[in-house]
Structure formats: structure tokens, C-alpha cells
Amino acid sequence: MLDVSGLGFHYPTPPEQHGPKWQFDFTLSPGECLAIHGASGSGKSTLLNLLAGFLHANSGSIRWHQQELTPLPPWERPITSVFQEHNLFEHLNVADNIGLGFHPGLKLSGAQKIEICAALERVGLAGMGKRRPAQLSGGQRQRVALLRALLRGQPLLLLDEPMTGLDSDARHILHGLLLEQKRDGVAIILASHDAEDRQVLADRVWSL
């Protein structure tokens, strides 16, 4: 269970400029999907960045199964993020990009390599392991990013507008993958402007 309580944040601004301040309180169970939406600047990305550890909260706590996550750096949190773009490292091929989810030094076992090939085949990218991200379409790139996130095996998935700009076929493939993850107990927080994404995936919708 993810338990976020009194999580406060404001960007450092001079006192005379009254910048936005946020405070978040919510819980999320394994296998549940919380969709958040709101206007630009409402704090969707800020919340995801706070959870992932890219921003440091001014107050409050983030607990996962009673374990406090706020003091942990991003790489020690049980969380994987997928952004709208720039998820893949352009100079590495598809297989290596996914392999980084298993080991940050790309020291992969034979079984893990086979797993990557099988995963690629499952999402319709069979034989594309050697391609560079620049040789993939937008939908294919997002599938690769999501595959890496899933193979990393972390129980909490943060999705920041991951399907913006994708065609409906690509969206359906990603929806299928995410629903499968939900069934396996992965908790998902989805920031999305798209009503269809929220309708298909979300158990709860939170408007910021």
C-alpha cells in the first residue's frame, strides 16, 4: 500500500513572489490505478516527481508497505517512471535500453537476454532488438519504454502522459500491457489529459 500523507512542496521563490504550493494526501493499493488530471501547472508532474524522488518534498511522508521512501534517492525507490518522451537513450539499441532495467551496468544473464527477446515479441517488436530508438516510430518507442519499466519489476509505476501523440493502435497495445500489470498487482499512477486512457485504466480519478 502506498501511503502519501501531508506531502508538501513549493518551488523556491523570493518571499514577495507567491509561487504555487502543493500538499498531497492519498493512498493507493497494489493493483490499483489512480488517474490524475488537471490544467497545466496544477501539479501533476510535480506529484510524480516527488514520488519518484526527482524533487525533494518540503514536508510529509511517502510510505510503501510502511517503509519510508522520502529519504531514498530515485534509484532506491520501488518505482519506475515512463515519461511522455525521451524515455530511451538514443545511442543504445532497443535491447540495451530494455536491459538497463535489469542491470544498470548491462551485465545481463542469458536468461535475461532471452526474456528481453520474448518481451519484444509479445508487444509486436520481434527482431527489433538491434535497432536504435531513432529507427522506431513514436508508439514503438513508448512500447520499449514500457517494456523496460515492466521488466524492471518494481511494484509502483508512474506514467506521465505516456500516450500523448500516439495513434489508437499503439494506445490499445499499451492499454493491454498496463491492464496486465494491474492484474499482476502493480500500482499505477497515471497523469493524463485523455479521457479514454482514464476510462480504460483508472479505478479512481483525481482532479487537481
Binding site: P30, N49, A52, G53, F54, W64, H65, Q67, L69, L72, P73, P74, W75, E76, R77, P78, I79, T80, S81, F83, E85, H86, N87, F89, E90, H91, L92, D96, L100, G101, H103, P104, G105, L106, R132, P133, A134, Q135, L136, S137, G138, R141, R152, G153, Q154, P155, G165, G185
Partner: protein
Amino acid sequence: MQNPLSFCNALRAPLSHPGWQLAPGLLVALAVITLTATGVSALLWQAPALNPAELWQSRYLRSVVSFTVWQALLSVLISTLLAIPVARALARQPRFPGRGLLLRLMELSLVMPTIVVVSGLVNVYGRQGWLTGVVSDFIPALQWNLYGLNGIVLAHVFFNAPLIARILLQALEAIPQSQKRLASQMGLRGFMLWRVLEWPAMKPVLPGLLALVFTLCFTSFAIVMTLGGGPGATTLEVAIYQALRFEFDFGRAALLALVQLSICGGLWWLVMRLGEHAKVLSEQRFSQPPPRRDNRGRARFCDAALILVFAVFLLLPLLAIVARGYPGLATLPMFNPQTPLFQATVKSLAIAVPAGLLAVIATLAIVAAGRFPRAKTVTHSAGYLPLIVPPLVLGTGLFLLFRPSLGVAGPGMLLVAFINAMMALPFILQLVRGPLASLNQSSRQQADQLGILGWYRWRWLHWPRLKRPLALALAYGVGLSLGDFGVIALFGSPSAPTLPVLLYQQLGSYQLVAAAATGLWLILLLLIVFSLAHVLTRTARLRPFARPQNLSVMDIRHA
């Protein structure tokens, strides 16, 4: 459910402690600052009686200071007036034949050995030069003398106009594609295009760029040594050298060094206060610009003429070097260890290669440490200090400090390599910073989350992006040191010269054929160094079949 801590500890990347990024850079930056401070302090300490009143009492010193400022201002003005139209023409004509080669040549101008280029300029613009001969036929009354202010400014323009044009072109190419498209759609051209797009793009880089060029001209040594015409055309750097080498007047050397330091330091303080800085070397390639109205018809012809004239201006002295040097070089027993050329080559490389390596390592360390806010001021200062403190001032101080123990051999040469490396720092930093910063925010966050830190971050994310710029940086470091004629003039020995010193000696003793051969060999060596850097880091180019949005050409180049 998996315990996140146990999972991540097992994958802890080697060298991922932040200290590994911070400490080496901080140490290097402090070493640069300490060495500079030591050099300047030693100069002050050794000066027996520093008499500032000499500056306005001595007519000679007054004329040295005013000439130094005047020639630098004139050089900056003429270089800029030439560079702006060239940059605009090159921006308007992205498909001009040979444009790529011309741009490479313009980038190389920074490391072209001064003394060699000067010999080329003499062959073209000297009293017996190719061009002087042709022009004299048409204008018999022409009173042209290359030696003195004319030659100094001409040489400065040769070196600095390409540098300014290259950086301004980069600023023009960096105009957002959307703005270029809008301007194209609205049919903007001429003055309106300049006012709306070009001037706003150039304006931010101009203060830093002009300060850089002014500093380079102000502290120019080899050009003034070779083209200066007696006391009437002497700059501070040459006066310091003369005070040290011939008059043994340390007080005067210290005084002149302080004047130079205050003028350059004051200028850079002003530039830093403005918060501007010039990107000295190109770091990005840009995608194809949209069609524009002002690059066809008569405008195209004018642009082509301007680019051609500029290319000829750059190429003529180089062609002269090849034409004069080839006969001598072709008949020379190149690989005979007894020849002065062979020995000078070995000596030059023995200084330049360590200098290049040192510069690259120091740059990497400084860039890595500079990402920590608490180290930013120190690393930033160390990166720009070599621009403020001219090499001769630094060399003079250290020369005075180590005078009894530092000879011309081992330790002295190590110091020369170290100072050369320091002098290359500001330029190399520009080469490395861009690619290192090109990892966008999302990618950095992904890398953090995946635990790609420390060694893994270097191996998988930075090295593929940096190997080409680093090889180029090494080539620049080696090239700048190969052409050095400032610091080596202080520490070098006439009996064991480097290539530029050998060339200077040969010119001084009227061995013109041998001098031309040495000059050509130095240029060839430079080309070999740059070609090696290019070949060693060459990677297969990709042909993307579906280029996604927001992917720059640079990303593809990296791939």
C-alpha cells in the same frame, strides 16, 4: 513484494559516490587557481622596485600600452565587420558547395600555428608577396608595408574573423526552427530579418565573443614578435618578453604584466557581470532550415561572392605555405634522427601530447565537479582564468620563481606542458560541456531511477556522447600546444627548439627554404593529429526510417 533496498544495493554502481565526481574536479580547479596565483605573486615578489609612475613617465611604456589597446581594438573591429556578413551569408546559403570544408577550416583557425601562418601571410602580403605584386601592377603608387600595425591587424583578422563568423553562424543556426518557419512564411528579408531574427540571436553572444577576441589580440605574442616593426609597434606581451630575456628588468616585466592583467581581468569581470559568455567552439549541428526569400537571385550571387572572397582570404596564405614548403620538405631526410626538424618534432610532441591529455583530463574533472552548486564558482573561475591571465604573465611568474632550479630539460618542459594545457582549458571546456549537457532532463531522471550512476553512467550514457568531442578536444589541446610560441620562448633552449621555435630561428637566419619546410611540416602534423582524432572515433552513420518528432540531427549523429 520485493524489498527495494535489497534490490538496489546489489546493483550499486562502482564509483557512484558523489565524491568521485566532485573531488577530482575541485582539486584540478584549485591547482589551476593556485598555480596562477603563485605565478602572479612570484612576479610581484621578485620585482625589486615596482614603480607604477613609470607608466606615465616613460614615453616608451605609454606608447606600448596605447599601441597594445589600439591594435586590439582595430583588430576586433575589422574582424567583426568582416565576420558578420560572412556569417549571415553562410547562414543564408546552407547548400553552398564546399561550405562544410570552409567551416572546418574556420574552426581550425583557432589552433593554426601562428608563426607558420605569419610566414604564409608574408608570402602573400609581404613586399615580395603574390598579392602585393599583383596589386602594385594596378596601383604603382601603393605604399604598403606588412610590418607594423598593418601586418599585426591583418594577421589578427586572419585568425579571428573566422572564429567570430563561426560562432555567429552557430548563433544564427540556433534560432528556433519555428521562428525561422514563421519568418519564411511572412517573407521577411533584409533589414527586417536582421532586426527580428538575426540581431536578437547574435546579441547575447557578442559581449563574450568580442571580449575573447580582444583578449586574444591584446595578448598576442608571436604575431607581434614577427610582424611588429620596432618600438613603435610593440605590445605588452612582447615588452614583457624583452624586459625578461634581454634587459633582465624584472620590475618592468612585473609592472607590464600587472597592467595586462588588470586590463584583461577588468574586461572579463565586466563580461561575467553581464552574465554573457561565448560558445567558442561549435557543439551542435542543426536541422535543415526552411526556404527563405533572401537566398536566391542577386542575393545568392552576392553571398557566393562574399563567401568566395573570404575563402580565398583564408586559403591564400595556406597555399603559400604549401607552395613554398613542399620543395624543401620533399628533399628533406624526414626520418633521420640527426636532422633539426626530426628533433624539434620529437620535442614538440613530447610537450604537446601530455599537454593535450592533461587538458582533456582536467576539463572532464572540472565539468563533472561543476555540476555541484557548491563547486560551481571555483570550477567556473578555473575554466576562465587562463583567458584572464595571459600565458606569458603566468610563465614569467613561474619562470622567476623556479629560475634557479628549472632548466630547459625535464621539469621545465613539464611546466610548459602544464601551462599549455591550462591555456587550452577555456576552449576545450566549450567542446565538452555541450555534449555532456545534451542528456535531457527526462533521460537523466530515467538514468537516476535505473541506478545508472558512477562508472555505469560514464560507460553507457556519457562515453558514447563524449568520445568524439573528447577526441576533438584532445586534438585541439595537442594542436594549441604544438603551435605555442609564447611560453616555450621563455623556458625553451635555442639548442633544443620545438617546431615553432625552430621556424623562428630559421626565419631569423634567412634559411627561408628550411623555414618554409618546417612551417608546412607543422601544418601537416596538425592535420595528422585532427585526422587521427576523426578516424579513431568514426562510427557508422544511421539512416533512420522513421524519425520521431523532437529528435535533433545531433541525436542521430550520436547514435
